[in-house]
């Protein structure tokens, strides 16, 4: 494949000029027309019965058009478990839950009127720790759990706060522990975090008199928004149009559906208006998905030679007040629970538990950062007990071609060893550099977490002059989808990227895409586009063969003309073929060329409900992170001296953009390793702005050495697999392992703030 012209090259981003000039339109820039502004009245208690809501003062406020409460609008929504109301009905389950919404002619009027709504609560005992919430006597958060609709691959326990219990049983752990020379048991904790995309969540809705609903949204998944609104509001799909634009950062926070449901009922009341809601930073911090906290317990059995024989992994996840999406994170972490390592005997119990904290949901990594924090920290502790090199124990147990995951799925095309060795070499593994210097390494793996039949599709229209329009429903949220997909289309069609136009999603015009999540788009949408391009190319050859009177197999296309390989003088221009081709006698041969392609994985299966065994992964992407730190023992401040990140991308469609993704994910991982943690006080998030919730800025982001490894993925387009989330996974454990190496201390949670490191140093003393 070395003769490729577009795939594998650093094509300049197709969104570059729009984005550097301010011309790129994000969804709010496209809210045009007579507008109504929506503001929420939010719950001031974390758990309570709603005794009364008095909206009279708000309704009288000048400029207010309507007020809506859960009484009038009790519809539910959910991707996997339909447990979530748009507006609280009868009770509230987290602090800040929308209780009522106000539509007014200005945002100020809506906000001031919302303040005037009086809500009386009867406070109920709250539960904020999932370990407490699992106990039989814990206050119940969803009394009606048993009546909720649920996709049958999840296992809620009605009468408890357990929204999903995922079980995995591989091999025989009893036997595995009996074979072990050493058993290491430890607890770990991962805190909640937020995506904090710089663009907050936004949506608008318009209801036309003929019953057509148009929704503009920051959604990563316009088709899922359409599906969920259709199901929740009983509107047929052809009457719902969901438009998304450039997205100002997604990271999972804009997956599924969320605030769209708040504007639709108000739009229905006022046809002709564009009814909009724009979350401010504080609303974004507490009202959208957070990364679920994880409390975990690992028990690892290992032989003296470093071979791990058994693993018992218990994960208790803080699902928050609603777990419509979170149940699948818990499942995904469960079936991946041996991380990047092959362990013959595994017993895992992964619990998604309701609490009265903010709603848990997808965040870059989808459970893998949290689950592999335990795996990778434990690996270093096991190595320490065995007096073995942490790199060596990883190489011994790391997955290779033919290894089996915790779910028993065989993995192939695995370049994990190479990733580990690459980052280790880069940071000078094995060389001690100074007294308070330390080095740490972590492996990582992730497969897309998606239903086994989640699909993608693409349409390619060939214009009369041989240029092309690529239509897909994937979202451009910074990852470079538009550019990579254009390159795949260009390579397959043999036409330059400049001759391709690609559109942002609009469900009325772009074909179906499940979701732009799970690092799946390059693979799934990319395959659909490749197939659509092959279909279009096939039509080009077929028409040309007819026109030229030669067999199709003799023809080749160089981007501007189709000619016979046997006699290059037998040729036609692409214009002749694509522009309603006709014979020299005038009789038509073929109309416009439209290529179609779709993709659904055929290698995924359901999992056994008792053992969790099966094939949950479409492809597995491995990688590794290496870090060198210096720690100030007086202050606990961690300084990153070296940071190396490697990912086995299979094939980088655009190496420059792949490296940018790799570094960007590493920065996000570093940000969580050192700074990020949502601080809750009885369900109230205390740090709701960028001053109190610190993320990496340019002045504390070190140089990152990124490495793209290429072990081709058989099923992927041109051998590619997705890499968007993976780089984040290894950073926190690698940093922690380096800090522990520097000081001989031990940490079980992060972020590694100066205070936390200082305390760990002093505990050791």
């Amino acid at each position: 494949m070395s003769d490729m012209k577009y795939v594998g090259t650093d094509v300049s981003r197709v969104d570059a000029l729009e984005k550097v000039t301010g011309a790129a339109q994000y969804i709010e820039d496209r809210f045009i027309g007579p507008m109504l502004h929506v503001k929420m009245k939010k719950s001031t208690v974390a758990h309570g019965k709603i005794k009364s809501i008095d909206t009279s003062k708000a309704l009288q406020y000048p400029g207010v058009k309507a007020v809506l409460t859960g009484k009038e609008y009790s519809n539910k929504i959910g991707l996997y478990l339909i447990d979530r109301n748009f507006l609280a009905v009868d009770k509230v389950r987290f602090w800040g839950e929308p209780v009522a919404i106000v539509a007014a002619v200005t945002e100020e009027a809506a906000a001031e009127a919302a303040e005037l709504i009086e809500v009386e609560y009867e406070e109920l005992p709250g539960v904020f720790d999932p370990r407490e919430a699992m106990k039989p006597d814990a206050p119940l958060i969803h009394e009606d759990l048993g009546s909720y609709k649920v996709v049958p691959i999840f296992y809620p326990k009605p009468g408890t706060n357990i929204a999903n219990h995922f079980k995995l049983r591989k091999g025989d752990v009893k036997k595995g522990f009996a074979e072990a020379d050493l058993i290491v048991e430890r607890d770990f904790k991962v805190p909640q975090m937020q995506h904090v995309s710089i663009e907050t969540h936004k949506a608008a809705a318009h209801w036309s008199p003929d019953g057509k609903l148009t929704v503009w949204s920051t959604a990563q998944s316009p088709n899922v928004v359409r599906q969920l609104l259709s199901e929740s509001l009983a509107i047929p799909m052809h009457k719902i149009r969901v438009i998304s634009s450039y997205i100002g950062g997604g990271f999972g926070g804009k997956a599924g559906a969320s605030l769209e449901g708040l504007v639709v009922p108000l739009a229905q009341k006022f046809p002709g208006y564009v009814v909009r809601i724009v979350f401010n930073r504080e609303e974004d911090m507490q009202g959208t998905f957070t990364r679920q906290a994880l409390y975990s317990h690992l028990k690892t059995g290992v032989r003296k030679d470093g071979r791990i024989t058994a693993l018992e992994y218990e994960m208790i996840w803080d699902g928050g007040a609603y777990t419509e999406y979170g149940v699948n994170i818990v499942r995904s972490a469960g079936y991946s629970s041996s991380g990047a390592y092959e362990i013959p005997n595994v017993k895992t119990d992964s619990y998604c538990v309701y609490t009265n904290n903010s709603i848990g949901g997808p965040v870059r990594g989808f459970g893998m950062c949290e689950m592999q924090w335990g795996i990778e920290r434990q690996m270093d502790e096991v190595a320490k007990e065995l007096n073995m090199d942490p790199l060596e124990i990883r190489l011994i147990n790391g997955m290779k071609d033919g290894s089996k995951t915790a779910a028993g799925q065989e993995v192939h095309n695995v370049g994990f060893d190479k990733c580990l060795k690459t980052v280790a070499d880069k940071i000078g593994w094995g060389k001690k550099e100074g007294k308070f210097h330390g080095k740490g390494i972590a492996g990582l793996v992730k497969c897309p977490a998606q239903p086994s039949n989640a699909s993608s599709s693409a349409i390619i229209r060939i214009n009369e002059d041989g240029t092309a329009h690529v239509l897909v429903g994937a979202a451009e949220m910074g990852q470079g989808m538009l550019t990579a997909i254009s390159q795949i289309a260009a390579e397959t069609l043999h036409i330059p990227v400049e001759k391709i136009d690609i559109k942002l999603p609009d469900t009325d015009f772009t074909p179906y895409e499940w979701q732009s999540v799970g690092s799946r788009i390059t693979y799934t949408c990319g395959t659909s586009v490749k197939r659509a391009a092959e279909d279009a190319l096939g039509q080009i050859y077929c028409i040309a063969a007819n026109l030229l009177g030669v067999p199709e197999e003799d023809l080749t296309f160089d981007g501007s003309k189709i000619y016979s390989t046997k006699d290059p003088n037998i040729k036609a221009t692409i214009r002749e073929v694509a522009d309603s081709c006709k014979k020299c006698t005038g009789e038509g041969i073929a109309g416009p060329i439209i290529g179609r392609g779709s993709f659904v994985p055929s290698n995924m299966t359901n999992l056994d409900p008792e053992t969790g065994q099966g094939n949950p992964g479409m492809f597995y992407c491995f990688g590794a992170t290496g870090v060198e730190v210096e720690v100030d023992p007086e202050t606990g401040v961690v300084t990153i001296l070296q940071l190396a990140s490697a990912i086995d991308a299979g094939k980088a469609i655009n190496p420059r953009l792949a490296n940018a993704q790799l570094r960007g994910g590493t920065v996000m991982g570093l940000s969580t390793a050192l700074y990020e943690e949502l601080r809750f006080d009885k369900g109230v998030i205390l740090n709701r702005n960028f001053t109190d919730y610190k993320i990496c800025s340019i002045d504390n982001t070190p140089h990152i050495d990124s490495f793209i490894i290429e072990t081709p993925e058989e099923g992927g387009p041109f051998g590619a697999r997705g890499i968007g989330e993976q780089p984040m996974i290894g950073v926190a454990p690698a940093v922690a392992n380096a800090v522990c190496d520097a000081l001989g201390i031990d940490v079980d949670t992060f972020p590694l703030t100066p205070e936390r490191v200082w305390r760990a140093i002093n505990e050791k003393k």
Partner: protein, 157 residues
């Protein structure tokens, strides 16, 4: 509803002279986006923490969410839309394109404005100068390394 007071202001925006009535109390950010319809300037936090709304006011970078529109009176405003001249990109914009110094692009207008302001006052910035000048511009996609490279590359030109 509160009484809405209006005030007439005159100013220059991206080279053009303008006179407008503005609502007292309206931020410059809202005025730029909703009245001037220059939507390249972005809103990320409204309290001066993220830098997405950075514009040049009399050549100095300011978070337009922290400035009132009335303060624009008699001043010169440059937004991201005003950086390219006659279809020719500014050297900072060119370098951002060449280095793919953005991902989602939402922080990019503010980031470019801050970089432009830095280069205007310090034609030869060190890495530390760049880090300091851009530390108020958050990029959640983590394109900082590419951004540093782009700013350095614009120096050479």
């Amino acid at each position: 509803m509160k009484m809405v007071q209006k005030m007439k202001i005159s100013f220059t925006v991206n080279g053009d002279k303008e006179t407008r009535e503005v609502t007292v109390g309206q931020t410059l950010l809202k005025f730029i986006r909703n009245e001037l319809h220059l939507t390249g300037t972005k809103e990320g936090c409204e309290i001066g923490e993220c830098g997405a709304c950075m514009v040049l006011l009399d050549g100095k970078p300011v978070n337009s969410c922290l400035v009132l529109a009335v303060e624009l009176d008699g001043k010169e405003l440059v937004t991201i839309e005003g950086l390219s001249k006659n279809g020719e990109l500014d050297r900072v914009q060119k370098a951002f394109v060449e280095h793919s110094a953005f991902q989602c692009g939402f922080c990019t207008p503010g980031m470019i404005i801050s970089a432009k302001a830095l280069l205007d006052r310090n034609p030869n910035p060190t890495d530390e100068d760049i880090n300091e000048a851009l530390s108020g511009n958050l990029c959640r996609c983590g394109a900082y390394q590419e951004i540093r490279e782009a700013v350095k590359a614009s120096v050479k030109k």
